[in-house]
């Protein structure tokens, strides 16, 4: 099996209060079939064998659907492959001898917990502020009892694809959370089930986003380019309409 040698520069940070730094490692037994996270698993096995602390990184489903994996790989959140979460990135996209710099998602509202792990609970607080709908308790309604035009359903589904990973924040030169928040507001504003809280939702989620300390959106659209679910900044425009509608209509 073909083996690759990689030079890794990885952000190591003991805990939230310690200063961190980039540490270099050389890995000789990387195969192109490995996923990026499997490559880090191999590194950690070597580190543990040597009695060193393994590199902490977030991951869960490793199927690109849970939003848990993160990492800024050579300056791009989720790495160089378009519409791909880090866990779905494979080492065949790198060359033998490459140097790869791996950093955590950077934003004040995403404090580093350890190494490459950041605390993204700011997103949970934004969702709790308004990212919900009222439902009647009791038996589940029959499917398709509320007619929704195909185009609207498609648009809402595009927004609902957001897995809340936070790559939009990491990629934004301003560390703005606008793409995440707009995906949630957009999804629910489009559907009939989202109507009762429509105005309140837009106001409260944006208020909470600002309170968390995310930056303002300058329309660089870098978020759309790194989003593993290809969520469009069209939703940010809708979020702004929703906010103005809630304020003045």
């Amino acid at each position: 099996m073909k083996k690759m040698t990689l030079h890794l520069r990885i952000w190591r940070q003991k805990d939230a209060n310690s200063p961190g730094k980039l540490v270099s490692y050389t890995l000789n037994d990387v195969t192109p079939e490995m996923s990026f996270l499997e490559m880090l698993d191999v590194l950690n096995e070597h580190l543990i064998a040597k009695g060193e602390e393994p590199v902490e990184f977030d991951n869960d489903c490793r199927e690109g659907i849970c939003g848990m994996c993160s990492l800024v790989i050579n300056g791009i959140p989720h790495g160089p492959e378009h519409a791909t979460a880090t866990c779905q990135l494979h080492m065949r996209h790198f060359k033998d001898g490459d140097t790869i710099t791996i950093e955590p998602f950077r934003a004040k509202p995403f404090p580093v917990v350890k190494d490459l792990v950041v605390d993204r609970s700011a997103f949970d607080r934004i969702l709790a502020a308004g990212g919900y709908i009222s439902v009647n308790a009791g038996s589940a309604p029959d499917a398709n009892t509320i007619p929704i035009p195909k185009e609207i359903a498609d648009e809402a589904m595009d927004a609902a694809a957001c897995i809340g990973c936070g790559a939009c924040v990491a990629a934004c030169p301003n560390a703005s959370a606008s793409l995440f928040v707009s995906a949630k507001i957009s999804q629910l504003a489009l559907l009939p089930q989202g109507q009762p809280e429509r105005k309140r939702r837009a106001l409260r989620m944006i208020e909470q986003m600002d309170k968390e300390g995310f930056g303002d959106c300058s329309n660089h659209a870098e978020c759309e380019a790194v989003c593993p679910k290809e969520i469009s900044i069209v939703h940010i425009a809708r979020m702004r309409r929703e906010y103005m509608r809630a304020m003045f209509c």
């Binding site: 934003a107 004040k108 030169p173 106001l203 702004r240």
Partner: protein, 228 residues
């Protein structure tokens, strides 16, 4: 329901104001450039008459100027606020930065808005001091005594230092508008997949026309007055 002031200060409201004031100032620039094309004529009369016509609006002109100043101040405050908040939002930066490519619109223009904006503001202060509050020459056209602004413009643009400064400032204005125009529509929530490519392209066109137009006038005058 949040108050009006908290709306204005919110991340969405701030950009809304920036967009409206920015677009209004682009409209002013288009008018300004159109009028200034009269400077390209070797005959000073049409330009002086045009400037005199504008001044004849009296208090209406002052109101328009005050509105423009207010728009400029709002635009600047929101811009500086975005810049400061951005620095707070990412106290620790990246060692390696990059762009994921299309559909990103991150560019030299989009990442330097605060700096091009500051240069344009400094330019504007010098520009007003040089012309609006500059030396007052008089001339008589059709028996009417009026300011000979044409003469002042010719004098100023015979100095290669001034011409060079204008060229640099106007190129930076072009970059500012190249991101600013389409971005204003996005900030106002006006993004439709069918029309946005047209607006984006129109932004590039407006940036080039205004930058080349405004830097072309001093270059033309310099060539006419000094070189030829």
């Amino acid at each position: 329901m949040p108050s009006f002031m908290s709306t204005v200060r919110s991340s969405v409201g701030k950009k809304f104001l920036m967009a409206i004031t920015g677009l209004a100032m682009i409209v002013f620039l288009i008018e300004h450039l159109t009028g200034n094309f009269l400077l390209l004529q070797p005959n000073p009369e049409p330009y002086n008459k045009y400037a005199h016509f504008l001044l004849s609006f009296g208090w209406l002109l002052i109101v328009a100027e005050l509105i423009l100043v207010a728009f400029l101040v709002i635009h600047m405050i929101s811009g500086i606020s975005v810049f400061l908040k951005k620095r707070q939002a990412r106290p620790v930066g990246y060692h390696v930065t990059g762009s994921a490519g299309k559909p990103s619109k991150k560019s030299f223009a989009s990442t330097t808005m605060i700096y091009t904006g500051i240069v344009i503001f400094i330019f504007l202060a010098i520009h007003l001091k040089t012309f609006k509050y500059g030396p007052y020459y008089e001339t008589t056209v059709d028996g009417v005594v009026m300011r000979d602004l044409y003469r002042l413009v010719n004098e100023v643009f015979s100095d290669p230092l001034y011409v060079g400064g204008y060229v640099v400032a106007m190129i930076l204005l072009g970059f500012h508008l190249r991101h600013g125009f389409w971005s204003a529509f996005q900030s106002l929530g006006l993004n439709h997949p069918r029309y946005m490519p047209i607006i984006y392209g129109l932004g590039v066109l407006i940036a080039i026309v205004l930058a080349v137009g405004f830097l072309g006038i001093p270059v033309w005058i310099y060539l006419r007055e000094v070189v030829l």
